[in-house]
Symmetry: C2
Subunit: 585 residues, 2 copies
């Protein structure tokens, strides 16, 4: 009972020295990776760099207690940082106390929402984001994020919430490019690109074993950070107009009580909800992928609670919204983390860094952090998906492209909303006009197939229609129109058989449509019959008056229905002859 809501009780019982060693090892590696990332993503969110560190301490501890993934590494991530910048930017200017307050409030709201969704077991809401919408959103976010960082590489001031504005703003300020900043930014970007692909083989060539080479390559950003700090000090770059991180407050995160300003909450709840859902979807995908590799399982509803607790903790310690990140979780996994305790040890590592390392980062050029971000997010841009979707499904392609276009043009919030809405509309459109086929018997068999696809046997006075969809309110109107239209085109028809082998459910609206069809066909002396009704559907029909009013029969199999009605001698249908229905259950 307790262990359902507190997974720590389960893995904690079997914790031992071996597991501790593995977890500590992984924590050291993730800590080294997370320090520059936290600073960089705080920058992307428009916040002081130290806020990124704060968001990487307490949230990790809380996730370790409540989360179900053994290897997920929680903290600031690129897309959520961009969404935070967009939402807080609508409230106040970057750099103001109101802006920071808005970011903290977002973490609070998002944490509470995630926890509530978890308690309500409403994780299914994340299903509203289809794969094409998510991948479109991630691609567009990657483009937006990379573009937003170009100003730091150039050393100019520029703004914009969407792509056209960003590009325009960049173009307007390109004259002010600072050569020294460029001289840091471009080499740093190139080095980090090389580290991604080329460092591991190079390190192996000089004799490192594969795993060590891989781990060392992951520390590439730390090398870039160290080298550019040295360069900044050596060439006194701050005086030459290069922006540096500057003084970072030393010490543990402050205890902060998040705002309870209702007006602020009213302005922020929609972006907070979007941040929650995107964060949850990203985190769960990562967690599921990693869990499957070790044949472990995660519980999506409990993950909501874990992420909710992490975000609330972030808010109370002066941080901003966090979630499970792909890159760092993969590193954690590869480095051998066994339990969520690895996350707690990482938190200790970051706390130590906050206490003792921040003075070393004083001269770190902002351009280096921008380069870290650009290299990280460009891997999010996926250019293969559009072509693949185009070939497979035009509707999914449309949802994907619409999400990319609207995210680029109207910003991240509108992008997510548009993706959900477009996806739903396309789904509803398809559900409202399902596939149905007139079927006939394949000669010498008991199989019935589409008359347009196969050579089959039919008789003029019996019309067999197979409906390939649940009968729900979304297609109730269509059903009436379709059946009556097909009957109207065939004056000889005296019996209609609805073959229900693919009808997985009939809701109240579908039932009303069936009643209307039964009634109207009855007016014209035409019998309505059902065949191959599934067990659960039949159980439900028994609870209505439909079967008593049915102007025909319910048959166990389509072939029996066709056989009996095809040999019908022309007598009018018997309105209440449904003995077969009684025997079916």
């Amino acid at each position: 009972m307790f262990s359902r809501y507190l997974p720590i009780l389960e893995w904690g019982r079997t914790y031992n020295r071996n597991v501790l060693t593995d977890d500590l090892m992984a924590a050291v590696i993730v800590t080294i990776m997370l320090i520059p990332q936290s600073l960089a993503y705080a920058l992307l969110a428009g916040l002081p760099p130290v806020v990124g560190l704060y968001a990487s301490i307490l949230p990790l501890v809380l996730y370790a207690v409540f989360g179900t993934s053994r290897t997920l590494a929680v903290g600031p991530v690129a897309v959520i940082s961009l969404m935070t910048a967009s939402a807080a930017g609508a409230i106040a200017e970057q750099g103001t106390a109101q802006y920071l307050e808005a970011a903290i409030t977002l973490a609070m709201l998002s944490g509470v929402m995630l926890a509530i969704l978890g308690i309500l077991r409403a994780g299914f809401l994340a299903n509203l984001l289809s794969h094409p919408v998510i991948s479109g959103f991630i691609t567009a976010s990657g483009i937006l994020i990379a573009t937003s960082q170009l100003k730091h590489i150039l050393g100019v001031t520029a703004g914009g919430d969407n792509w056209p504005d960003m590009l325009g703003s960049l173009a307007a300020s390109i004259d002010e490019t600072n050569g020294w900043t460029l001289a840091i930014g471009i080499p740093a970007t190139m080095f980090l690109f090389w580290v991604r692909k080329g460092a591991k083989p190079a390190l192996q060539k000089v004799g490192l074993p594969e795993r060590a080479a891989d781990m060392t390559a992951k520390a590439g950003p730390v090398v870039a950070v160290a080298l550019t700090i040295l360069a900044a000090i050596a060439f006194d770059l701050q005086d030459k107009g290069v922006n540096i991180v500057g003084a970072i407050p030393q010490g543990l995160p402050p205890f902060a009580v998040p705002s309870t300003d209702l007006a602020l909450i009213e302005q922020l709840w929609v972006p907070a909800l979007l941040i929650s859902i995107i964060g949850f979807v990203e985190s769960v995908s990562v967690a599921q992928t990693l869990a499957a590799k070790r044949r472990q399982r995660i519980s999506p509803d409990q993950e909501l609670i874990g992420l909710g607790a992490a975000n609330v903790a972030s808010a109370f310690s002066g941080g901003y919204p966090v979630t499970g990140g792909f890159a760092r979780s993969a590193v954690n996994f590869d480095a051998g983390a066994q339990t969520p305790a690895a996350g707690a040890y990482t938190a200790v590592g970051i706390a130590l860094a906050t206490l003792f390392l921040t003075p070393l980062l004083f001269s770190l050029p902002i351009a280096t952090l921008a380069a870290t971000i650009i290299v990280a997010v460009l891997s999010l841009v996926d250019l293969k998906t559009p072509g693949r979707l185009w070939r497979y499904s035009k509707a999914d392609f449309a949802a994907h492209i619409a999400t990319i276009a609207i995210t680029l043009i109207a910003g991240v919030e509108m992008g997510v909303i548009a993706g959900v809405v477009v996806g739903l509309l396309l789904y509803l459109w398809r559900a409202s006009r399902p596939h149905a086929a007139i079927v006939g018997r394949v000669p010498e068999t008991e199989h019935f197939r589409n008359v347009e696809r196969h050579e089959v046997f039919t008789v003029p006075h019996v019309l067999s229609i197979r409906i390939d969809e649940a009968l729900t309110y979304l297609n109730a109107r269509w059903l009436e129109e379709y059946v009556l239209e097909e009957v109207a085109e065939r004056p000889a028809v005296r019996h209609v058989i609805l073959m229900c082998s693919a009808v997985n459910a009939i809701d109240a609206s579908g039932l009303e449509s069936l009643e209307a069809i039964n009634h109207r066909l009855g007016d014209g002396g035409i019998g309505l019959h059902l065949s191959e009704v599934k067990g659960p559907v039949m159980d439900r029909l028994q609870r209505s008056h439909f079967l008593e009013e049915l102007n025909g029969q319910v048959f166990l199999s389509q072939s029996r229905a066709f056989e009996k009605l095809a040999s019908d001698d022309g007598a009018p249908p018997e309105p209440h002859d449904h003995y077969l229905a009684r025997g079916l259950i």
Copy 2:
């Protein structure tokens, strides 16, 4: 081509004297019925009575040109009048010029929206309102409307947009009840109730033939109007505190240019959209019911254009939102209307009334109009549906009750929105956890049935799963979890067969889940096989790389798949052996 958008071109060609006579006859009867109704519904909408007449002239002519129903009678209706009052009341006080402007703007916006939906052929959006939601909304609206009119029967001043407010406001002012108003209102209400049920048999008893008795009974409201006007004059009721209609401007509707105030449009577009959708759903249901009785057909998309034109016409002639009404359309149908021209003749009748009859209505007590409304709307309240839904489907029951409760408590707009949202959430919830069953072979047959419902044959190393739902993004996550969970529970499994006889579609997200399942099962040396894949689904799978990567085979029938894999001798699955798939198309 033209006749698709202008149905008048079709029926106009065969128009002759016989049809003319029928149409004229129907028009006279509908006109007599429509005069008191128009005044009453304008009152309900909080507008001057004459606005109801204006809304019953030009809109009818435009619908006659663009509409596809031969018998639908367009004009002000109760529910739309209530929605208009609610939306315009949020902008200004009743009786002000701003209030009237808001009502006219609603007609304009609603007309434009309907026409756009029609041109986009987006009538399927009306499907978002399920039958339980619509009937809940209509029931709650009936209760709200009847309650809102009680103040006119009592002769007091009261307000409120929702039921608790209305009842509170009534209770607070009940001391001020005007006895003379009550003396008009109560008999008028009783008389109209009697007319509904008792007048026809009574008239038949005194010797009128059935049809004439029916039509005369329909004129009951006119009798009530005439009698109470005479009473008001005879007893000088205006001086005794009874509210009367007073001076109605004589003359044809003014030509009015609707407002293009953007701020107003921004405030009104949501209610206008709701009015459009509710109006469309109500109108199309009526039109379809009547068309089916004469084996005619209507085109829902063209209906959108017809109703759109009618509403734009209403706005340009000083009217408010209109749609097809049930009662008056039924009268039109019963009175023998043959073509939409009957509507145009009705418009002429109302125009004549506006020119010449309005002085006669000076002394008409408002209480009489309120009685007309109360009697009309109480028939909308449907008390049988909740019980019927409870027995058939708890989810539909929940949507129905939620719609009633929220409409009563939070008003009509929130009611419609809540109904749509609750309906969608329940639908998505069900779609996100579809029915699936582990199946086995029914002994001595080729049929496969649920192992929990039937005595069937299975083997430990083959797991057959039948999925009873299209694989879409809504259940993609569920699919992965379900299949992997079932496999994890059965360590002996070496082959998984997904029986796809009820899988009507696989979208890109479903495909990705299948790929993930294939990949993960493959990692564990388990083969993934598909059986009974439908033609259109297979066509689409051929366009992806899935079949090439499939870690198993595609079988035409489940029994062939089971036979082959059950006799498998334990050799590992052959990853690229899918020759059967090639032969299937």
